[in-house]
Amino acid sequence: MDFNLSKKHLLMQELFRQFAEKEVKPLAAETDEKEAFPYSTVEKLGKYGMLGIPWSADSLSYIMCVEEMSKVCATTGVIVSAHTSLCAAPISDWGTQEQKDRYLPNLTSGKWLGALGLTEAGAGTDAAGQQTKAVLDGDNYILNGTKIFITNADAAHVYIIIAMTDKSQGTRGLSAFIVEKDMPGFSIGKKEEKMGIRGSLTCELIMENCIVPKANLLGKEGEGFKVAMKTLDGGRIGIAAQALGIAQGAIDVTVDYVKERKQFGKRISQFQNTQFELADMQTTVDAARLLTYRAACLKDAGKKYTSEAAMAKLFASEAASDVARRCLQLFGGYGYIREYPIERMMRDAKITELYEGTSEVQKMVIAAGMKVN
């Protein structure tokens, strides 16, 4: 057992750190404040190969990228994660050669951004309750329905859409489709205003008699639920990495702050309460990192990682919320003021306990893996 990163992974981490520090961090406050999707950053991420990392390198490098971006800007972290895990990955895993040839080069180079349309108003945690329908009509499927809370929505060009092809079959009646933004009958609906990750575009996707070529069925008819569940397994490692980044980023800014801030004639880093709090938090974050890296390494080794990904996401996301809140406490009143990034980090952290399966869903997955039912 080796807990050390290889020289290659250390250099990869150095690349992500340099990029995050110089390109992402300076825009983070404005991205949040103005709810401004960072288009220019996405273009640069594509240029340096950061939107297709599992295919040019490996999953461990990919999650290190999400972690480093999220340390300084959780919005940028989730853009990379949703694009890579929720759109490019299912095409790579389930796509035909023609589908891979058409979509993967454009997605991994960042020319096109990707998203996943699974959630509906009545089908969140209960993903089987899908109302969106797909009916075969000659050479096309006709899709009707509305997806909500879709990350990257308006900025994306390619969407994986889960829709019902045979209601009588329940989850086995679901199918997955690759839908492009300019296909007839496809439009973007309401943009949500959010508590955190405010720069990421979260919108409705509306399909009204949307015409999708038969060749864009991803996997076989009836495999949609399997595609979605396997996709979320991978996605959870990405969100675990995002949570891990937020938590570490919160500690990093707090360590800088407590070394500067003086009260009662001392730097507040000299108080044992500060030291114990930070020691406790860093231990939790390191544990989250080990869980997250383990899940990624299992994926890279081609082994089963469903439970491990759920554990990583459960632990890292709860750590992120807890750590960000406790770090803000160490800032005192200044932590509540937007001059410092800690209040943004606290707002950003919460979403990691909710999307790509709430913490409760992760526990369901872990318990199922333990065969406790």
Binding site: S6, K7, K8, L11, L15, G49, A57
Partner: protein
């Protein structure tokens, strides 16, 4: 065109602290980086490669740990990397370093050599010019812009405090790069993978170079520099800037000179 870029791994001086008692640098735990001016040298070479398809080789003289600096250069897009490393090279001053690097460069063959202006740990700015002297080739230091022109010629802008010179040189030649020359690119993900999986850092020892440099010109023995005293740079207060016409300027200067009893 074959370009050789000389780089140096240096402690990140932003992270270096001085020992208040001895006045020496505390290097423990300080991260190592590629010298910033050398990064601009790499970028200049890679821009020429992007435009004209040049072959770019990065080279450094240093201990085995300098391997990571060369991997970074490979990950940015350099084609080849050489680590000049041997116990016999240890203790070298700028003269012995430039003798050794010139030998390695001669062995590898080149059209153009690019170095950084100076390294942030020593600030000598000597190694680049000395390499050109050892090789007997023309040099342009303090380059703020490089343009390729007809044949093997380059037009280089050499920066001064208040102006620049445009100098045309024909390769083989050496250029030293300023930080204002360009903004170095990042490594890329595919570049990092290839830096470890498909490319290699090749080692050059004294054994490899002995046909090109004499033993008495390398390492401690080949270093004529004798350090008399080292001390931390005294930070001076910023000067005062007056934006005034000539007459008023004369008045201010004369007044200041009188205040300091110069006049």
């Amino acid at each position: 065109m074959k370009i050789i870029v000389c780089i140096k791994q240096v402690p990140d001086t932003n992270e270096v602290r001085l020992d208040p008692k001895t006045g020496t640098l505390i290097r423990d735990g300080v991260p190592s980086i590629i010298n910033p001016d050398d990064m601009c040298g790499i970028e200049a070479a890679l821009q020429l490669k992007d435009q004209y398809g040049c072959h770019v080789t990065a080279i450094t003289m240093g201990p085995p740990q300098a391997d990571v600096a060369l991997r970074e250069a490979l990950a940015m897009g350099c084609d080849e990397a050489y680590l000049v490393s041997d116990r016999a090279f240890g203790g070298a001053d700028t003269w012995a370093t430039s003798s050794t690097l010139a030998a390695a460069i001669k062995k590898l063959g080149y059209d153009l050599i690019i170095t950084g202006r100076q390294a942030i740990d020593g600030d000598t700015a000597q190694v680049g010019p000395q390499i050109a002297e050892h090789l007997g080739i023309p040099q342009v230091t303090y380059a703020q812009n490089i343009e390729k022109t007809e044949g093997n010629a380059l037009i280089v802008q050499r920066q001064y405090e208040d102006r620049y010179q445009k100098i045309k040189i024909t390769c083989p030649a050496l250029i030293t790069a300023l930080s204002s020359l360009n903004s170095p690119r990042y490594m890329s993900v595919a570049g990092v993978v290839s830096a470890y999986d498909t490319k290699e850092v090749k080692l050059l020892t004294f054994e490899d170079l002995k046909d090109h440099v004499a033993e008495e010109n390398i390492g401690l023995k080949g270093s004529p520099t004798k350090v008399k005293k080292s001390f931390p740079k005294q930070v001076k207060a910023q000067g005062v800037k007056h934006e005034v016409d000539e007459d008023e300027a004369v008045e201010i200067i004369v007044k200041k000179l009188k205040e300091h009893f110069v006049l």
